[in-house]
Symmetry: C2
Subunit: 145 residues, 2 copies
C-alpha cells in the first residue's frame, strides 16, 4: 500500500538504469532480494535452481548493481566479496551478525560529528570512509544465553 516518496524501492528498475531485462539479471536480483545476509558469488549461484548463470555473468551484474547502488560488496577477512542488497540509497553502513550472518542497514548519522572532529584534529579533508560493523543480533543473543 505504501509507495514511499523517498528513494527506497522494492525492486530495482533495470530499464530505467539502461539495462536490459534478462532472466539471469532478474534471477540474481531475486536471490539478493530474498537474502538478509551477504552472499558470495558461489552462494548466489547455489541458491538458484535449474540453469544457472555462469560465474562471470554474476560478477558482471553484481558490479553493475553495485554501481547503481542496488547492492554493495562487503569483503571479509577471507578476502571474498559478499554482496548485500541495499534497501536504502542513502549513505549507510552494514551491521553483520557474527552468529547467523544476518545483516542490517544502519544509518550512522551520529558518525558525522566524529568525522568533523577528525578533520579538525588531523587537518585532513575527509572524502569517504568504509565502516563495517559486526555484532550479535537479538536472536543470537537469546540463543547464547
Amino acid at each position: 500500500m505504501s509507495r514511499r516518496a523517498d528513494d527506497s524501492s522494492d525492486a530495482p528498475d533495470l530499464r530505467q538504469a539502461g539495462l536490459r531485462r534478462t532472466v539471469q539479471r532478474e534471477a540474481i536480483l531475486r536471490v539478493l532480494e530474498a537474502s538478509d545476509r551477504p552472499l558470495s558469488v558461489e552462494d548466489i549461484r547455489a541458491r538458484m535452481m535449474g540453469k544457472r548463470p555462469g560465474i562471470p555473468t554474476i560478477y558482471r551484474n553484481l558490479e553493475r548493481f553495485a554501481h547503481e547502488g542496488w547492492a554493495e560488496a562487503l569483503v571479509g577477512d577471507d578476502q571474498v566479496a559478499r554482496f548485500v542488497r541495499c534497501r536504502s540509497s542513502h549513505h549507510h553502513h552494514h551491521l553483520v551478525c557474527e552468529g547467523c550472518g544476518r545483516a542490517v542497514e544502519v544509518d550512522a548519522c551520529g558518525l558525522l560529528g566524529s568525522l568533523e572532529e577528525i578533520e579538525q584534529a588531523t587537518g585532513f579533508k575527509l572524502t569517504r570512509h568504509v565502516l563495517n560493523l559486526f555484532g550479535t543480533c537479538p536472536a543470537c543473543q537469546r540463543n547464547r544465553a
Copy 2:
C-alpha cells in the same frame, strides 16, 4: 629522551613476542617503520636492497606482526593487502590520503557514542568494527589549490 609509560614503543621486541631475530624479520620491520603509508608485499620487497626475502616469508611475518598488533592490513578496492606500522596498540583507525597515500592513525573515540546509539536502535550487541577513512592531507590540499 622520553620513554613513555604507555604502550607505544619505537621498535617491536621480537624476543619478547617469542619470535627469533632474523635478518628478514628485522628488515621487514625496518621498511614498515620507515614508511608513512600502507605498503603491499611487493612494495616492501621493492624497498629492500641486496638479498631480499621471498614473498611467502614476507606474508608470514606480516601476519605475525599483525597478530602482535605491530602492523595492520588495509585492503583497498583493488583487493590487495597493504600493511601499515601501528604506532599505538590502542584501538585506532587509519586515515589515508588519496593524494599521496600517506596514512595517519586516528583515535576515533568520538565514535563510541554513535556505536551505543546503533546498539540501541538495532538491538545488536556490537563486538567489533572496521573503519577506514580516506581524505586529502594538508599538503595535498595546498598542492591542489
